[in-house]
C-alpha cells in the first residue's frame, strides 16, 4: 500500500481513538453509556472470533462457551473463592486458554462441518455443566452479587471501577491492548505464517511449517480473549446466568464477524457496532430482532460474503486506482 494510503489509514485510526475516548463525554446519560460498555465487550468478542473465522478459516459455532466460562470463572473466583478481582480476571483468561488448548487440540484435527459440529458439541457440554453443577454456579438461578472491579491496593487506596463511565474506559483499554496484540501478530512473521497456512497449506507444509500447531496457538489466543470479554461482562453487570452460554452468544459474534468482515482488523468493530447498538435501538422488538439479524446474516452471506469492511476497502482501493492514473498523467 502506498504512502498516502498508509498515512490516511493511520490518521483514521487516530481519529477513531480520539472519538472513542470522547464518546462518553458526548453521551452523558448512564443508559447510553451502558450501551457503550456493551459495545466494547462485543468488540472483544468479535475480535476473538475473528481470529478463528478470519485467520484460521474455520467456523466455530461454540464460542459462547469461552465467553461464558470466562465470566463464570472470574465470578466464582472472586466471590466464592475470594480472589481480588484484579487477580480473578487474568485467572479466568488463563482458564479459558487452558480449555481452549484442550478443545482446540481435539477439534482442530477436523475440518469444515466436522469442526463446526465438534465446537457445538463442546459448547453444549460446557453449557450443561454450568447449568447443572448448581452447587458451584447456582445453575439456572444465576450467579449474583459478583464483586466489582477495584483497582489499587486494599487498605491503601481503592479505585472502584463500577460506574458506566469508568468501566467504559476500562473496556476501552482492554480493546486497545487486544487490538495492538492482534495487529502486531498479523504484521509479524507469525502473522505471515498464518496467512500462508490459510491460503496455501501444502506449500506452507513443504517449507516445514506445522499448520496444526499454529492453528492451535491461534485458537488458544482467541479463547483467551473471549474469556476476557466474559470476565469483563461479569464484573460490569455483576450478575451472570447460564443464558450466557446459549447459542445466542455464539451466533452474535459470528454475525458480527461475517457481516463486519472476517479476516480484517476493521471488520469486527463494524460488526460490533451493528450488533451491539442495534439491539438497544430496537429494545422492544425482542424475538423479531433475531429474525432480522439472522435474515441480515443470510443476505450478507448471499450477496456480500466477504463482509462490509472488505467491501469498503475494495471500494476505497477502486476509488484510489481510478484516481492515480489521472494524477500520474495516464490516459
Amino acid at each position: 500500500m502506498n504512502r498516502a494510503a498508509r498515512n490516511r489509514r493511520n490518521w483514521t485510526r487516530f481519529l477513531g481513538l480520539v472519538v472513542a475516548l470522547l464518546l462518553p463525554i458526548v453521551f452523558q446519560d448512564a443508559y447510553l453509556r451502558n450501551i457503550l460498555v456493551i459495545f466494547g465487550i462485543y468488540c472483544l468478542l468479535a475480535l476473538s472470533l475473528n481470529i478463528i473465522v478470519g485467520y484460521i478459516g474455520e467456523v466455530s459455532l461454540g464460542h459462547a462457551a469461552f465467553f461464558g466460562l470466562g465470566g463464570y470463572a472470574s465470578a466464582i473466583l472472586s466471590k466464592t473463592v475470594g480472589f481480588p478481582v484484579l487477580l480473578s480476571i487474568p485467572s479466568a483468561v488463563v482458564i479459558s486458554g487452558i480449555l481452549g488448548l484442550f478443545i482446540g487440540y481435539l477439534a482442530l484435527r477436523l475440518r469444515g462441518p466436522y469442526f463446526a459440529i465438534t465446537t457445538l458439541a463442546f459448547a453444549e457440554i460446557i453449557r450443561l455443566i454450568v447449568t447443572n453443577w448448581v452447587d458451584l454456579t447456582r445453575g439456572p438461578l444465576g450467579f449474583t452479587q459478583i464483586p466489582p472491579l477495584v483497582l489499587g491496593i486494599p487498605g491503601w487506596f481503592e479505585f472502584k471501577v463500577m460506574s458506566e463511565l469508568r468501566y467504559y474506559y476500562f473496556v476501552l483499554v482492554l480493546v486497545g491492548l487486544v487490538f495492538l496484540l492482534i495487529y502486531n501478530v498479523v504484521h509479524s512473521p507469525t502473522g505471515r505464517t498464518f496467512l500462508a497456512i490459510r491460503e496455501q497449506e501444502p506449500l506452507a507444509r513443504s517449507v516445514g511449517i506445522n499448520p496444526f500447531r499454529y492453528r492451535v496457538l491461534a485458537f488458544v489466543i482467541s479463547t483467551m480473549i473471549a474469556g476476557l470479554a466474559g470476565a469483563a461482562y461479569a464484573h460490569f453487570f455483576r450478575i451472570i446466568s447460564p443464558d450466557i452460554n446459549m447459542v445466542y452468544y455464539s451466533a452474535i459474534p459470528l454475525m458480527m464477524v461475517m457481516v463486519g468482515g472476517r479476516g480484517t482488523l476493521l471488520g469486527p468493530f463494524l460488526g460490533a457496532l451493528l450488533f451491539a447498538v442495534l439491539p438497544e435501538l430496537f429494545r422492544t422488538a425482542g424475538t423479531i430482532r433475531m429474525v432480522f439479524f439472522a435474515s441480515f446474516l443470510l443476505a450478507t452471506i448471499v450477496y456480500m460474503p466477504e463482509g462490509i469492511a472488505v467491501k469498503i476497502q475494495t471500494f476505497i482501493r477502486d476509488w484510489e486506482t481510478k484516481k492515480s492514473p489521472q494524477e500520474l498523467g495516464d490516459v
Binding site: D29, Y31, G139, P140, I239, G286
Partner: protein
C-alpha cells in the same frame, strides 16, 4: 381623597390576587403525568406471566386515572419495559427508566434472578422498588430500605398448606418430586419442618432438572410404593402439565397435591383430563367471594373479555397501592416518605387486606384457601 386611595389600593390588591389565580388555573390544565416504571417479561420464557401482570397494571392505571388521578389530579403514566426474563435486560431497563424517563418508581419483576439484579441498582440509586411477583426469600434479605414485595414467599404459603394436608387429608405416606433448584430444596426442608416426626412420612424424594420432559422413571418408582399422597414442588405449568399427564398415562392413581401457589388455569388446560382431582392451596383465587374481588373480576372482564388470575391481581395491586401511597405521601420523588407511607398503612386489595412488614414483605390479613380441580374447573375445597 382617602376613599379614592382605598378604592385604588383595593383594585390593585384584587388585581394582584386575580393575577395569581389565573396563571395557576391556566397551568393546571396541562399537569405533568406521574411516571411509574413497570418492568416485566413481555417476551421470552416467562412472557405469559408478564402479559398477565401487565393486564392488571393497565386495569389499575385506568381505574386510578378514571377516578381523577393522584397528587392533585395528575394522571398516572405507565412506562412498560421488557426484561425478557434476563437479569441483564432488567438492569438495563431500570437504568433507562431512571435516566431517560426520570422516574424514581420502579415496579415489576417475575423471575427472581431478574429482581435480584434489579434491586442492586434500585438500592444504590435510592429508588422505590415494588417487586410484583418474584418470590425468592433472598430478595427480602438485602437490606433495601425502599423495597416492597407483594407475593408471599413459598415458606409463607407452606405455613398454611402443609399443616392443612396433615390435618385434613391425613396421608400416612407421601412421595415428593421436586425441581433441582433453591425452591425445590427449600420445599424439602419445609416438609421436614411442618410434618416432622408425627406428621405424614415422606417415603421417597426424587429431584429433576428444569426442562426435563420425561418423568416416567420417577413416576413408576412412586407408583410401585403405593403412597397416600404425591406432593409436587415445581412451578412451570408446562412441567406440571406433563407430570400430571404422564402420571395419568402410567396409571399412577395417588392423589396429587401441587405445592401452594402453583395451580392455575394453564395447568388445567395443559393437563386436560389428568388434572381432575388435583389439589393445591393459594392465597388468591378469582372466585373469592368478596365485594372488592368481585368488582376487580368484573372490571377485568369488561376491559379484557377474560377473567383475571393471580398475576393480574398482583399487577393490579402494585399500581393501585403505589398510586394511593403516592397520593397519601403527597410526593413522587421523596422515596423515604413514600416508603414510610407504605409501611404505616393497611391496604385494601382484591385478595383482602395487606400490610408491609419491616423488610417490605406484604402480609395478607386474609385467609389462604385449599383448592381442588372439579369437572375441569378450579374450586375451593372445604
Amino acid at each position: 381623597m382617602r376613599k379614592s386611595i382605598g378604592v385604588g389600593a383595593g383594585t390593585v390588591l384584587l388585581g394582584a390576587a386575580l393575577l395569581m389565580i389565573v396563571p395557576t388555573a391556566v397551568l393546571g390544565q396541562t399537569k405533568a403525568p406521574v411516571k411509574i416504571g413497570v418492568i416485566l417479561p413481555m417476551t421470552g420464557p416467562a412472557a405469559l406471566y408478564g402479559e398477565q401482570a401487565n393486564r392488571g397494571v393497565q386495569l389499575a392505571a385506568k381505574m386510578v386515572n378514571g377516578a381523577g388521578g393522584i397528587l392533585g389530579g395528575r394522571q398516572v403514566s405507565i412506562i412498560l419495559e421488557d426484561d425478557q426474563a434476563n437479569p441483564v435486560e432488567g438492569v438495563n431497563a431500570v437504568k433507562k427508566l431512571m435516566n431517560r424517563d426520570g422516574t424514581k418508581l420502579i415496579t415489576g419483576g417475575v423471575n427472581s434472578s431478574v429482581s435480584l439484579a434489579e434491586l442492586q441498582v434500585t438500592k444504590e440509586a435510592g429508588l422505590l422498588h415494588i417487586v410484583t411477583v418474584s418470590t425468592a426469600p433472598a430478595i427480602r434479605e438485602q437490606g433495601h430500605p425502599s423495597l416492597f414485595a407483594l407475593q408471599p414467599t413459598n415458606s409463607m404459603k407452606d405455613d398454611f398448606a402443609l399443616p392443612w394436608i396433615a390435618q385434613v387429608l391425613k396421608p400416612k405416606t407421601v412421595v415428593h418430586l421436586l425441581e433441582n433448584t433453591d425452591y425445590g430444596r427449600v420445599e424439602v426442608e419445609e416438609l421436614k419442618k411442618h410434618w416432622g416426626a408425627s406428621g405424614p412420612k415422606v417415603v421417597a424424594t426424587e429431584t429433576f432438572q428444569l426442562g426435563e420432559t420425561d418423568f416416567t422413571i420417577h413416576l413408576n418408582k412412586f407408583k410401585a410404593m403405593k403412597p397416600d399422597l404425591f406432593y409436587l414442588s415445581t412451578a412451570a405449568p408446562s412441567t406440571i402439565g406433563t407430570i400430571l399427564k404422564q402420571a395419568y398415562e402410567i396409571g399412577f392413581k395417588a392423589p396429587i397435591f401441587l405445592a401452594p401457589g402453583n395451580l392455575n388455569n394453564d395447568v388445567v388446560r395443559l393437563a386436560g383430563p389428568a388434572a381432575e382431582g388435583v389439589l393445591c392451596a393459594d392465597y388468591y383465587v378469582n372466585i373469592l367471594d368478596t365485594p372488592a374481588n368481585k368488582k376487580f373480576v368484573k372490571d377485568h372482564e369488561e376491559m379484557f373479555k377474560r377473567p383475571p388470575e393471580k398475576m393480574e391481581m398482583l399487577g393490579f395491586e402494585s399500581i393501585t397501592i403505589l398510586s394511593k401511597a403516592l397520593d397519601m405521601a403527597g410526593t413522587e420523588t421523596d422515596v423515604k416518605k413514600i416508603s414510610d407511607t407504605l409501611r404505616q398503612n393497611k391496604w385494601q386489595t382484591p385478595r383482602g387486606e395487606i400490610v408491609f412488614d419491616a423488610k417490605g414483605q406484604a402480609k395478607g390479613v386474609g385467609k389462604d384457601q385449599a383448592l381442588v380441580v372439579k369437572d375441569g374447573k378450579i374450586t375451593i375445597r372445604k
